[in-house]
Amino acid sequence: MALLQVSGSPHVHTDESVKKIMWTVIIALVPTLIFSVIYFGFDAIKLTLVSVAACVFFEWLIQKFLLKGPITIQDGSAVVTGILLAFNLPSNLPIWIVVIGALAAIGIAKMTFGGLGNNPFNPALVGRVFLLISFPVQMTTWPRPHLLFSAPLAADATTGATPLGMIKMTLTQGKDASELMNALPTYAQMLLGDRGGSLGEVAALAIIAGGIFMLIRKVISWHIPVTFIGSAFIFAAILHLINPGLYIPPSYHILCGGLLLGAIFMATDMVTSPMSNWGKIVFGIGCGLLTIIIRVAGSYPEGVSFAILIMNAFVPLINKGFKTKRFGSQKIKS
């Protein structure tokens, strides 16, 4: 007679798996990748491939020779980290810097804490911030996007500041924000990605499409993106209303820079975001406020990565303080 299994209930299981979640995220990142290739050409593919390969390689290396444990590169999390890291870098970054970034992301931010699921900080963002502090010049030289296969621009026109960098520069020189408006890209340009910036942050529409795909597949919930973008918008709007000469309109804050990429792909990282829906809302609001504070008051033009990393540090506290409402926690009405 064949032996049968005995185990505790439940005896059936969802067909969802970590691997499937990771591949869903990768698919959601594809439109953004396509847009970055359109604007930055071959560099975008090269950078992404190098970053992904380096991340997967370092994870394999550490698991094989340092931890001597099981190798889990096939779960796709290193691929996601690699793509997200590349999306946070300017397209003309030298390859060796990308490899160092991947080492920081996988080696320092992920594997030291125990691999997938145990890292308190978003690995890709740690990689990016590590590079930003170590190589400030290379990391803030942005190539001008030019459409794929179109005539290359003149040499002096190939690099330029990001819209946020321009704003920061102008404002620190004591000029009025309203003068800037003509120099900034139009809404259409920002939505489609025809502006300076990192690989993955330029095309707002592609990022939103990826976000909607992940929402439908239930990989992310609406709480973090909506509260992140919403709180940033409201806070920036209040500042703009107080002094339009000093603060740019809120829509620029949302569409310029990496806020959308951060809100949809980085802050929603399962591992480093809170568990409960209320926790997620608090997390999102914190990210939104910190981003705007860093952008208007800090010395860096961009604040999304720092904001998310700071809020990552608060996640254990948020998990403790904002739990789901328990069933039956209220008293009987009598």
């Binding site: 007679m1 064949a2 049968l4 299994q5 005995v6 185990s7 505790g8 209930s9 439940p10 005896h11 059936v12 299981h13 969802t14 969802e16 798996s17 970590v18 499937k20 979640i21 889990t72 779960d75 125990g114 691999g115 997938l116 699921g117 145990n118 929402l215 439908i216 597949r217 239930k218 399962m270 591992v271 480093t272 975001s273 809170p274 568990m275 409960s276 829906n277 739990k323 789901t324 409402k325 328990r326 069933f327 039956g328 926690s329 209220q330 008293k331 009987i332």
Partner: protein, 473 residues
């Protein structure tokens, strides 16, 4: 209508955006549900439309003396005794205990310790079956008796005498539920017809084929509490049953049928009360604390037979189903029938069998001993094939929060499971592990395939023991 509800299930399962929209549409038709947590496992109600058949009597039957939750019953027969169908075999003497009657006529072969489905040995009565001779006071006619003659106290006494227990799975003696403690008042009599577990479809069949008997039984339970209305909660994937019930209920006064959303665990006692009455059973309390008494469909049917036909609880409705089963069946099986008989009557186990389950796939128990016998509350013999039953290798928790989202009690399984692994029972108590209803939603939804409920169940037992030890000190 049937296709619509299936479509609805698929949509709500797959699409995040459709959910609020469909919820709104459903609310138009006043479909009720609990809000917090819940999952949508595959329905797999293969035995939905197979008629209930009477299963042939075995040649030798084994009846475990204690087939309920509570104090063990005392065996009142001895070896060599001749028994008839309906004769008392074991008597429940304690407050929470139940009687057991003979489902067969024949001779008592021996009284011995026999392994039950868990593999542990229990006192059991072995009967050599000879013919099918019934006690004279049992009404065997198929005629439906509609008039309820007994007073509430007599009804409860009858339920106690005839050994009726809750047939939803827990087998809690039914009469105890009706002894409302001092200072509390029963306001709602709820019949749990949600049948939210995948695969099981026996309640559905009883509601379709024995509609009137079931309704009379439910009305008897309502009368026992002297309440004006009876509430029946049915999940909306049983559209046929809802229609038939609504038609039949027109002839009865004070019957209210609630359509519930198809969502697991809609039929969990606390969730059902929340869905129907909007009341939340507070943590650590019983349904009666919010004025509710919940009973199962098969229990109501058993009550009908006990009160109107004087027939004790001697048989069980049982689904025999599974993904690899060619023709899923619904049976009326006498207690004490060997499980092997049921399997063999259907051509043996399929090749790819992984597990045998007593009950549904979410909360049922895996059968460790295939030579065991059916007992009260054995509502489904489920064959899980190795494709769906094999546990995947568990990997690191990725803190996705899907278990928190799925928990209908608002607990945090991702936190409870490691606490249990670390044997931190005090901390588990603080995290309200005792509220856990062991529905399995967390483990079902875990993308890392972590054995969450295994750890939590262990922790719950240990924490419960710790709390009891403290209170007896």
């Amino acid at each position: 209508m049937k296709y619509f509800s299936v479509l609805l299930d698929n949509l709500t399962k797959k699409c995040y955006f459709c959910k609020p929209k469909i919820l709104f549409l459903i609310n138009l038709n006043s479909v009720k549900t609990f809000r917090l947590g819940g999952i949508h496992p595959e329905n797999n109600k293969f035995a939905h439309s197979s008629q209930i058949e009477e299963f042939p009597l075995p040649t030798q039957a084994v009846l475990y003396a204690t087939q309920h939750l509570g104090a063990p019953s005392t065996v009142v027969v001895a070896k060599g005794d001749k028994v008839k169908v309906g004769q008392l075999l074991a008597k429940g003497e304690a407050f929470i205990s139940a009687n057991l009657h003979s489902p067969y006529s024949g001779t008592i072969n021996k009284i011995d310790a026999v392994a039950d489905i868990t593999g542990y040995k229990k006192t059991a009565i072995v009967i050599d079956v000879e013919g099918d001779e019934w006690e004279d006071d049992i009404d065997k006619s198929p005629e439906i008796k509609r008039e309820i003659r007994l007073s509430p106290a007599e009804i409860i006494e009858k339920i106690k005498e005839k050994g009726i227990v809750g047939l939803g799975g827990a087998c809690f003696p039914t009469h105890v539920k009706f002894m409302v403690p001092q200072g509390k008042k029963a306001e709602y009599m709820i019949i749990n017809a949600a049948e939210c577990e995948p695969y099981i479809s026996i309640d559905n069949r009883v509601m379709l084929e024995r509609t009137e008997e079931f309704l009379i039984g439910a009305c008897i339970l309502r009368d026992a509490l002297q309440l004006p209305t009876l509430h029946i909660g049915v999940e909306h994937n049983k559209a046929e049953a809802i229609e038939k019930l609504t038609q039949t209920a027109k002839n009865y006064q004070g019957v209210e049928i609630h359509t519930l959303r198809t969502k697991y665990p809609q039929g969990a006692e606390k969730q059902l009360i929340k869905a129907i009455t909007g009341r939340e059973v507070p943590s650590g309390k019983l349904p009666i604390d919010v004025g509710c008494i919940v009973n199962n469909v098969c229990t109501s049917y058993a009550v009908y037979e006990a009160v109107q036909k004087n027939k004790p609880l001697i048989s069980n409705f049982l689904s025999y189903t599974g993904k690899s089963i060619q023709t899923p069946k619904n049976y009326l099986v006498r207690l004490g029938t060997p499980i092997q008989n049921i399997i063999e009557a259907n051509g043996g186990l399929p090749e790819d069998t992984e597990k045998l389950i007593s009950g549904g796939p979410m909360m049922g128990k895996a059968i460790a001993n295939r030579d065991a016998f059916t007992s009260k509350g054995f509502s489904c013999l489920l064959i899980i094939n190795n494709k769906e039953g094999k546990r995947k290798e568990s990997i690191n928790c990725i803190r996705c929060g899907k278990c928190v989202e799925a928990c209908p009690m608002g607990l945090e399984p991702y936190l409870l499971a490691p606490l249990s692994e670390a044997a931190r029972w005090e901390d588990m108590e603080k995290e309200h592990v005792m509220d856990c209803i062991e529905c399995g939603c967390c483990q079902f939804s875990c993308p890392s395939s972590r054995p969450l409920l295994d750890h939590i169940r262990l922790g719950k037992n240990k924490t419960g023991a710790m709390i009891r030890a403290r209170s007896t000190k």
